[in-house]
Symmetry: C2
Subunit: 163 residues, 2 copies
C-alpha cells in the first residue's frame, strides 16, 4: 500500500536530513553528534506518539492498570503505527517491559545482513519516541530504548519511571 | 484512521523542525530564510514522490500521453497520498495543468479562517515536491507551485518543462 510507504519514505527522509544537517555543521560526526540526532528524532516521535494515542483512545474505555495499557500499546497502537502486533511482551512486574517485534516495519527496508546492523539505531530513535509519547499521554512516564540483534527483529525496552 | 494521522503528524513535525532550525541559526527569518525552508521541504517531497510513484506504477500499463499521466496522478496517486481524488483538472493543452483539491488533506488540520492563510505555503512545499517527484519519474520534468485562496481548498499548478 502506497499510504504505508508514504510514512516509511518520509521517515527515511527525515532521518537522512537530520544526520546530514548535523554532519554539515560539524564535519566528522562523533558520538555526541550522533546523540544529538537521536535526541531530535526521539522528540519528534514523542509528539507524534502523543497525537496518535489521543486519537486512538478517544473511544476506548479507561485502562485498569499498567499492564492493561501495555497490552493496548502492543496490540491496537502497534497495529495502527507499525502495521502488525508486537510478537512478544514480557515484564518483570516491576515496571520493566520488553516488547519484541520480529519484523519491525521501519527495519524491513534495510538489508537483513549484519552489514547495516550499526545503522539500526538511526531508524529506531523516532519509534522509541513514539512509544514514549503514547505512554506518557496515558499517564506512564518511561524510558524507551531499542535493540536489534538480528534484522529486522527488534526489542523495545520500556522502563516505567515511578514517582 | 491513525495510520493516516501518522503521516499528518509526522509532516507537521518536519515542517516545524525545519522552520525552527532555520530560525535558530538566523534569529529573525526573512524571505530568503523562508525560501530555504520551502526548498528543503520540497526536495524531501521530491524524493518521497519518486519512491511512491515507482511502487504505484509497478503494475500499471504504460501511459499513452502527458494527459494520461496527469489523470493517473489526479486519481490513483492522489488517492493514495492525499486520501481523495483531485476535484478538478484543467489544462491549456500546452503543458500547463491546474489541479484543484477542495479539501486538501494537509490543510484540513488548520483552521479554515483567513487567520492562517499566510501559513499555508509552509504546509504545501512538501506536497509540491511529491507531485514533482512523481511526474519526474514518469518522464515529465515540471515546476509545481501551490496556491490557497480559501482553506482547505488548494490549487496546484504544474508547468511541464519542454526540452
Amino acid at each position: 500500500m502506497a499510504d504505508e510507504s508514504l510514512f516509511d519514505f518520509l521517515h527515511m527522509e527525515i532521518v537522512s536530513h537530520i544526520y546530514k544537517e548535523q554532519q554539515s555543521s560539524k564535519g566528522e560526526m562523533d558520538n555526541k553528534d550522533r546523540a544529538v540526532c537521536v535526541s531530535v528524532l526521539e522528540s519528534m516521535g514523542f509528539r507524534v506518539g502523543q497525537g496518535l494515542i489521543e486519537r486512538l483512545t478517544r473511544d476506548s474505555p479507561s485502562f485498569k492498570d499498567e499492564l492493561d495499557v501495555m497490552k493496548f500499546v502492543c496490540k491496537d497502537f502497534w497495529t495502527k503505527v507499525f502495521r502488525r502486533q508486537v510478537d512478544n511482551l514480557r515484564t518483570n512486574h516491576q515496571g520493566t517491559y520488553v516488547l519484541q517485534d520480529n519484523k519491525f516495519s521501519l527495519l524491513t527496508q534495510l538489508s537483513s545482513g549484519k552489514q547495516y546492523l550499526d545503522q539500526a539505531p538511526k531508524y529506531l530513535a523516532f519509534s522509541c519516541g513514539v512509544v514514549r509519547g503514547a505512554l506518557s499521554n496515558l499517564g506512564m512516564d518511561s524510558v524507551v530504548t531499542a535493540e536489534v540483534s538480528v534484522m529486522p527483529s527488534c526489542k523495545f525496552q520500556v522502563v516505567v519511571q515511578k514517582l
